[in-house]
Structure formats: C-alpha cells, structure tokens
Symmetry: C2
Subunit: 624 residues, 2 copies
C-alpha cells in the first residue's frame, strides 16, 4: 500500500494515509474536527480547505465547481471530501471549516479520566404486578433497580412520574431508566436503550463558545462545534456587557437569552453531525468565567464588577434544564462547575482539572492568559490563585494591527541581525495583521536587536528603513504594504509596545505576588503551564525574554491551549472529577491583588523588558 503524508495546518499535524484517501477522511483519522454537515457526500460544501500546491491533488471535481467560487478555486480552495492527495501535501484548514482546534499539547498533561458519568442508563425487566403483588409502579421500579444495580433511588422527575404507568405497560415492563447521580430518575424508555447516552460540554468564553458532544458510554468526543458569543453585539469586553445588564432586568434577560440560543445552535450542529437526537443528551456541563456564568444563569452580574467583586454564588449548580431551556432533554441536568472568585471562574478551574495541576507533586504555575489572566501557583497540597487585568492586547484589541489568531494573522516573527524581518502567516497567505504570539515575538526580537530598550522605547540610535516616524509616534514595519493583504504596512507602534508591556507586567506582577506568598523562587517551579486562546505557537524563549513568564528553563514552559473545554469534558465524564472541582473551589485560596500594597511597585518594575530587576532574569545573561 502506497502512503502519502498530509500535513494539516495550522495544527501542524502530520498523518500518513493510504493513497486514494480523500482529505476529509484523513482529517478524521488525524482526530481533526472539520465542519461537514453531509458527512462527506458532497452535498453541503462546508469542508473547505486551502491547498497551496494544487498539483499534489486530484483534479477539481464537478461537486467542487458547484460549491466553490472561481475566486476560491483560484485561491487554492478545495473541498476536503473531494480532493485526494496524489503525493505528500500541506493542507490548511481555514477558520470557517474548523470546529475547535485539536489541542496538541493538552494531551501531554491531561490526566486519563476514568469513565464514571453522573448520568447512567440502567436496563431492567420488572415483574408484572398481580393481585398478590400489587406494589405500585414507582416502588416496583425502585426495588428492581436496588436489586439489580444497587441504586437507591430517592427521587423521580415529576414529568416522568406522570407518564410512568403508561410507559411501563407500553414497554411490557422492559425498560431503560436514566438515573442522575445515582438517585434521581430523569428518563424512562422502552426496551434497552443503554447505547444512547450523550453529554454536552460547553465553554462559554467572552468572545467564543465551544461545545463538545460526548458519548458517555465510551467517553469519546462525538462532535465539536463553536460559535461567536452573540453578546459581542453588546460589548466586546465583559464590563460593557455588565453595564448593559445593570441598566434593567430586560437587558439581563436579553444577554441570557442570546447566549442560550447560541449554545442551542452549537448543540443542534453537533447533534446533527453525530446523528444524535438532542433528547439523548442527558447532561450538560458548563464552564465559563464568573460573569459568563452569571449571565448564562440570568443572575445579576453587577456585583462581580464592582469592588469587592463578589459573585452571587460559587458552588456547583445542578439546574434542571426545564428551568434553563436548552434543547437537550427537558429533564436533563445542566451542571455549572463551581467558580472560585469574582474574577476566577469555572473556566479557570477547568484548566486546573484538565492539566491535572491539582495533582502535581511539585509546585508549579498555571497561567490562563486572556483579558483577565488567572494565575495559579501551587501543587496537590495547596493552591493560590489571583486574577489580573491584563487587557485584550494579546487577543488583538487596542493594537494598531492586532487581530485574532485566524487565517491571515502573522503568528511568528524573526528579526535578523540586519534588522530585516521574517514572518509566518496562519494559512501561508498574505498577512492581514498580528496575533498575540507575533506580538510577543515582535517585542522580544526588537529588544534582542536593540530596536527597543528595556523601557520599550524605540532606539534613537539604530537606523533602518523599517523604523518610521509618523505624526504621532514611531512604528516598526513588520510587513510592507506590497507583502500584505491590506496593501498597507503592518506595523508595531510605540503605543502597541506599551500595551504589551502593560499586559505582561500585570501577569508577571500577579505571578510574583503569588510566588512571594508561597515563599517561592522561580527555580523551584517544576512547570509553567500557559493556557489561553491567543495563538497556538508562542515562542517560549521570547515569552520569557519579554518577562511574560518567570525565568525558568525553556523546557519547563508548556502551552496547553484552551484547556477549559477539556476540563469540562472530564467533569462530564467523571463523578470524581466533578467532586474534585467542588473541592478545588472550596480549597484554592484566592488572593485579591488590590489588597496587596506591593502590587503597584511590582507592576511598575515588571513594565521593564524583561524586568527592572535583572537579578530576576539570570538566564538573560546566557541568551544575550
């Protein structure tokens, strides 16, 4: 059998498949979730990919001509279900065709989850009642389940009880009972339906919502979906949305409603794709930051945004879906994992779960970088956490040519000794802007080449045509207008550098304070785990060079991508994980940075590149 190697970008995932395999099948084998609504039959036209070397592929089919515009065909677009590689080939999956990115690094730290979901399906055959055995229906079922499965029921959903007599008799006393948390009946079906048991994990981000459909009988992810958070229309940042919700009760209800609708759309998509009835979804586990948690539940989030930043609740909430209104089974449970504090939500807790941080023997650090960055320092014994307002710079906001890590974003930058710039764009297309990882590279490389000093100011001394003075400020050209998709120079301005300094300083100051409380030296850190959706290919040397992470050996720094959805899935799959989450919510100690008098000085010192106090960066001497 002849094999060909396909390299999938931007995940950089290589797979060998038999020659003749189409790209869609190859992607599935590689574990990449690619959008398709027709299952690869050529009907939907959703599985678009970009292949720069067209001659490595089979010819363009009639199906592709129908679905793709001339412009797309000229730009290298193909349908993955139609295109068959003839030789080794590089395939780019553009954002619109991706459903959640494969987390390459997460698997390195993910703990295997023992399959033990809270919802279980129990198949049972009952004896028919007789005059000498007139035990009522519910009690008959209860004692059979106790006898066969040792499940001591105490409850049954009222809606199920209402239908119980008819269901049992229609099924001739041969039924499958769905039990939640081993004590409450949430469904009864005729015959043996134990094979159809699904769960739904949702990570509500401020800008993106990710949902994974999970087969609870195998633990495998059946399909994945994502959508923009529709609340973006009411403000890109959380504070704007909270201000809107504060205005009146109706606004709050609107924010909840559109969020639930978006989750329902993802649910519909993942169920359609996996050919699963939405009513076979018996439990949903939701994570998100505390504000998203409140908004999804319709709880007034105002007080999480005002000092002293107090959430309404932190404990795990198991809400009956009848009260929430997802399109899963009405009697299903929607379990909101617990929060830790007003600015450390269930998503950060899910990071801890996913990375197994809470089971590490040696003290480590976990940083989830976002507009608010959550930091954990500790080990299996004791964990401290804090949150710092690092701003949206790494996500592209407030940066002149900043953008999200999408096709067209420069994701890597290298500045040569002659101050010329090499860069790599997601999708290998002409660049549109810079994503977070490129910003880190840019600042680090400019610092390395002396283009900026430790205060982030552009050099007055170095001469290069890339350093340009405009009316307002100095900027450094990363890509020339002729190279770019926008036909304009793509630059880093003096103000952009300042934004990056502010962001990294906040993060560094937070982590310094946690380490100080724990009496830790960076040398003692076993690992520095970095989570967040601001780009997949951060250069750890550069991240350390600008002082985003403490000065630890490069091999201790691991990027774990967006781990929250993985943590949510682990909780969905395992009662023990669910309990661990509760315990962590209780035990992780929250540090309020606003209460630390030294925070101001730490922040000011960390604005320097890498830091005002170079003794904190002994490695710098080796690299420079």
């Amino acid at each position: 059998m002849t094999l060909v190697t396909i390299t999938f970008d931007p995940a950089r995932l290589k797979i060998e498949v038999a020659k003749g395999t189409n790209i869609l099948k190859a992607a599935k084998e590689a574990g990449i979730a690619m959008r398709t609504e027709c299952g690869g039959t050529g009907i939907c036209g959703k599985c678009k990919v970009i292949v720069p070397r067209q001659k490595a592929l089979s010819g363009i089919s009639a199906v592709e001509k129908r679905h793709l515009s001339l412009h797309e065909l000229n730009s290298g677009y193909r349908l993955a279900c139609q295109a068959v590689p003839r030789q080794d080939v590089q395939v780019l999956i553009p954002l619109e065709s991706r459903i959640g990115q494969r987390r390459i690094l997460i698997h390195g730290v993910e703990r295997r989850t023992k399959l033990n979901p809270l919802v279980r399906k129990l198949h049972v055959k009952l004896n028919k009642p007789t005059l000498s055995d007139p035990v009522p229906d519910y009690e008959r079922l209860k004692s059979a389940l106790l006898a066969v499965y040792n499940t001591d029921l105490v409850d049954i959903e009222y809606a199920i009880l209402e239908r119980l007599p008819d269901i049992l008799r229609d099924a001739d006393w041969d039924v499958t009972v769905t039990v939640w948390n081993m004590h409450r009946i949430i469904d009864i079906e005729r015959g043996d339906t134990t094979h159809a048991l699904f769960g739904f994990a949702v990570d509500i981000g401020t800008s993106k919502i990710v949902g994974h459909l999970v087969d609870l009988t195998t633990g495998k992810t059946a399909s994945m979906g994502r959508a923009e958070n529709p609340q973006l229309a009411y403000g890109a940042d959380i504070i704007t949305r909270i201000a809107f919700a504060m205005e009146d009760k109706e606004n709050l209800q609107t924010l909840q409603k559109i969020l639930l609708e978006a989750i329902n759309r993802i649910l519909a998509q993942v169920c359609r794709e996996a050919k699963v009835d939405q009513h076979q979804v018996y439990e949903t586990v939701v994570v998100g930051n505390t504000a998203m948690h409140h908004l999804c539940l319709g709880i007034q989030p105002k007080y999480t945004a005002l000092s002293p930043y107090v959430p309404a609740v932190k404990k795990r909430l198991d809400i009956s879906n009848r009260e929430l209104g997802l399109n899963t089974k009405p009697e299903s449970v929607v379990s909101f994992l617990p929060n830790i504090a007003g600015f450390v939500g269930a998503d950060a807790l899910a990071d801890v779960l996913a990375t197994g941080f809470h089971r590490l023997k040696k003290t480590s650090m976990l940083i989830d970088i976002g507009t608010n960055t959550e930091i954990f320092v500790g080990n299996g014994q004791d964990i401290l956490t804090c949150s710092c307002a690092s701003g949206p710079a790494f996500e592209g906001a407030r940066i002149k040519h900043g953008m999200k890590a999408e096709v067209g974003a420069i994701e890597r930058i290298h500045i040569k000794p002659d101050l010329e710039v090499g860069f790599k764009t997601i999708g290998n297309v002409k660049p549109t802007g810079l994503c977070g990882s490129a910003m880190i590279d840019a600042v680090a490389e400019m610092f390395k080449r002396g283009l900026i000093d430790s205060k982030g100011r552009f050099s007055q001394r170095l001469k290069t045509r890339r350093l340009k003075k405009t009316d307002k400020q100095t900027e450094f050209v990363i890509a020339w207008a002729k190279e770019s998709a926008t036909k304009k120079n793509i630059v880093m301005t003096q103000r952009d550098i300042g934004e990056i300094q502010l962001a990294k300083a906040a993060i560094f100051a937070g982590s310094s304070i946690l380490m100080k409380i724990q009496n830790l030296n960076p040398k003692e850190l076993e690992k520095v785990l970095v989570a967040g959706a601001f780009g997949n290919y951060i250069n750890p040397t550069n991240a350390r060079l600008i002082g985003l992470v403490p000065d630890v050996p490069i091999d201790k720094i691991e990027f774990v991508g967006n781990a929250a959805i993985e943590g949510a899935k682990m909780a969905l799959l395992s009662m023990e994980m669910r309990k661990a989450a509760e315990q962590l919510s209780d035990e992780i100690r929250y540090v309020e940075l606003a209460m630390r008098p030294e925070f101001g000085k730490e922040l000011a010192d960390a604005l320097f590149i890498p830091h005002r106090d170079l003794k904190r960066f002994p490695s710098l001497r080796k690299t420079s």
Copy 2:
C-alpha cells in the same frame, strides 16, 4: 355582666357570651368557622344563620334587609354579624354558611402535635463583603445560617438565586430566609418577616374539597374553606371519572386543571378571610384517595381502577409548586402524603395520623366509611388494612330519599313500640330526605320493632299504616307528606334496606377478615373508631345493631368525623408526623380482599341483620 347561652346547631355546641355579643362573634369564640368575607362589617352578607325563635334576638337591621330576601326573613334567616341575642337562643348554621364542621369527637383522640414544620423562617444579619472578605453571596448566607441556626444548606431555588445579589443589598444584609426541610432556601425577604409563615392543608374528597390555612408560627388554624369537587361534572363516582380520563390525555389534563382551580379558589378564600398574602403560604400538604391523588398530579389513574389496582406511586411526593401551579408562592412545596394502596389513599393514612391509631398500645379498629370504606386493624406494632366497595348508600346515593347530611336531612329516627316514628332534622326544618345516620337508625329501629326480619324483609305480619305496598315494592313511611318539605312521604323502601345491607355487609366482611388474619376476637378490640362524612350523629347502638361495626361495648365506639384534614394539618405542622406518614405507608400491610377465598361467604353472612351467625353478636341478647 349578664350572660346568654347560645346553642349552635347542628354542632350542638353551647357557649355563654356577654349579652350584647353578636352571633358571629359568639361563633368565633366557640371555635366555629363561619363563612364571612368582610370580617363581620355587614358588607358581604355571607354569615347567614337560621334562628327559629326570632323574639330572642335584636330586631332586623337595615343591613339584614339589604342582604336577605323576604322569603329568607320569613324562614328565620338572619345575619350573624347583625343579630344579637337578648336571651338564651338556639342558632342553626346552615350548610352554606359553614366552613368545615367543628369535629367534636376528633379532639378526644387527636394527639397533640409538637410544632415543628418543614418550612422555617430564619432571620439573619450578614456582614457586608469587603475586599478582604469577598465570600460570594450564597456562601456568605450559608455560613451565617450554619453559625446561627446550625442549618446546613445544600440547595437554593434557582429563581431565588437569580435575585439573591439584589435582595441582599436592597435589604442591607438583614434578611429572613425561608428554608424547606432545613436544607433548601425557598424564599428570601428583607428584614424580619418571621411572623408571616403559613401553610395550607387540603383534603381532596371525591365530592368535597376542604382546605385549612394554618399559621405555622403558632400551629393555629387561621381560616377554613370548602368547595364541591368540580370533577363531579364528569361523574359522581371515581370510576366514571377515571373512564373519562382514560379516553385521552386532554381529558386527564382537564380533570387536573379544574381540581387545581377549585383548590386555588379555596386558597383565595381562606387567605382573604385571614388577611394573608397567598405568597406567604410556603407549603401545602395534600391528602386524598389514591385516584384523587393521581388526578391532582395529572398521573394516569387508569391502572388503579383495573385489576390488580396498582397506583403509579405511593411514596410521599414533594413537588415544587412551580411544576403544579397553585397560587401559593411559586417556590413553595406541595407535599402529597403517601398512599398505601390503590384503594387506600393518603386520606385514610391521614385518619390514622389524626386519630393517633398508630400509637395505640392496644389493638383497635378504624373504619373510614365512604363509597370505598377503608378499614385498619392493629396497634402501634402492626397494622393491617383493606378497602371494601361499600357503595355510596350512606352518602345518600341509590337510596330513594337519600341525601347528604345537609339542612333538611333527617339525621335521627326513633320508632316507638306503637310503630309511630319520631325524627330529628338537621336545622329543625321540614325534612327533605334521609342522611346516612338516619338510614342506620331506620334499619335498626325497624329491626328492633320487628318491621323487618334478619334478612331485611318487611314483615307480613305487623299491621301499620306506615307500611305501604306500591306497584313495585313495600316501603315504610318515615315522614308523612304533610310533615315534609317535599310534600311527599319520605320512605325507606325494600330496595333501600337492601342497599344498606350490602354496604354494611361489605364493611363487616372486610373488618372480619382483618380480625381473622390477626387472630382477633371483637372482645379484644380496645376501640372502634369510625370516620367519614356521612353524618355526625350516628347512634352507636344502632350501628352495632345492624352489624355495621363489630359487637363491642358501646363506649368503645367513637365517631371521629372527617379526620383526614386533621391528619393533613398535623403533617403540615410536624416533621415527625410527616416521617410517621412515610413509615406508615411502608409498614401498614395491605390485604387484598379479592385474594381472600372466604370473602364471598363472609359477605353473604354479613348481609343478615346483624349477621347470619348470632354468636358474633352476643350483646344482641341483652338489648333485645
């Protein structure tokens, strides 16, 4: 102070009050619940009473002239809030003005209930959160309640959680928390509202619904209401209604809907009367027979009516009112007390609770007579129960001149040695028909005088103008046309006697079988408690003479009226009673009479008056 004595009929309750007290106030002092919607201000005109001796009262007021028709005034009707007795007087409270009859006898057997309701109001003041104490709202509340009241909350109603942040701050952290069963928050109010805590007890009878509003801070009944079961429109008996519900799902929903509406009407009335906001009602306890239980919950009752007569469920159900839709607080709980079997419902269980039957040291019998009669035999150690189809004869149905125990019903009958008849009518008005107690008297007295033989057949030998032969059968005239309100003779027919024989035989056979299983002789019975709403003044000697109850000394027979509502109230007031109900539901052993081969013979023998086997009625020799 001059006193006058008022005798309230039909309760036969005497009370001395200061001269000048109006009848309504006197009734209240006597503990009689009389209908009034205006609280005695003369506005509603609902507190109608009948006073035969008008000259014992103050003159007819303008208010009375406005509310009462000329016909009513001529018939002795007055308004209780207007009429003031000048001297000792007899006052009849007609059915339309009564709200539940005072249970004279129940108090003799009722066990005092220690006040310990499942809903509690806990007043608590919280510390305001600060940056150094940023504990979330729910967790703050939880730990305060744990500290002050030792209540370990595990749950909060979602609707309350949604509002929690605003409530706490609006109340400046000084709130009253309503907790159900010491673990779930169902309300939070600002300030101290511990005084406003009410419960609602409901007894759903096949024909009448009774509701009592109870102040859970004192244990006192605040007001009482009753209404006809609107399902009567769909069939006087349960089987007809079940047949209707079986036809389609919509019919079942209709029966549930009109029942809940009727309960809501009673609720509105009792709350209006006691000036209580319906949202201050935090728990409702419901009892009823198993079919009413199912219909109220919207559960298909079909299988309770078909052999082997299996209910859907017997255990206690605590339903969130949001799922049921009473007009009490949406987050309040509606607790359906447990059933025992298809034909032994929560109402019968409530009889046991109310009479303290389950705590009796010595073996006794409890009979709740209705269309289905439930019988209990046992003591605190072990109780057997059965149900027998005794038919609606004692409630007036299928009896030529039968009627309910309302004004105009003959309730007592005495036949003199000369075969002339003396009788007493409820309300001392001209008679309209015979209620259950009169039927028992009639059969017993006729038997005593030799008018009927032990087979219930009219004597061919005795000559009296009261024995009349019509085309179809022989009948005995109780009241002549000229004496009656209907201007027709009021009679007991041969067929009527047969119906009574059938009813009493079924009851006797059931009780005999339970005694046989327990190896009991009637002599060993400590008490025979008789419950049921078929008349308040049964003559125990006559009840025994016709063989309705076993042959025990008269002083062992007690009539306890409709005890079910009392049992429901006890469960409302006491966690221990609620638990006792569950235990009883589990432990009381149900005997299916259809499975007893001897039932047929027992029934046939018991058709005799008092019984085919006179050795079972040794007392007969003494009385005759």
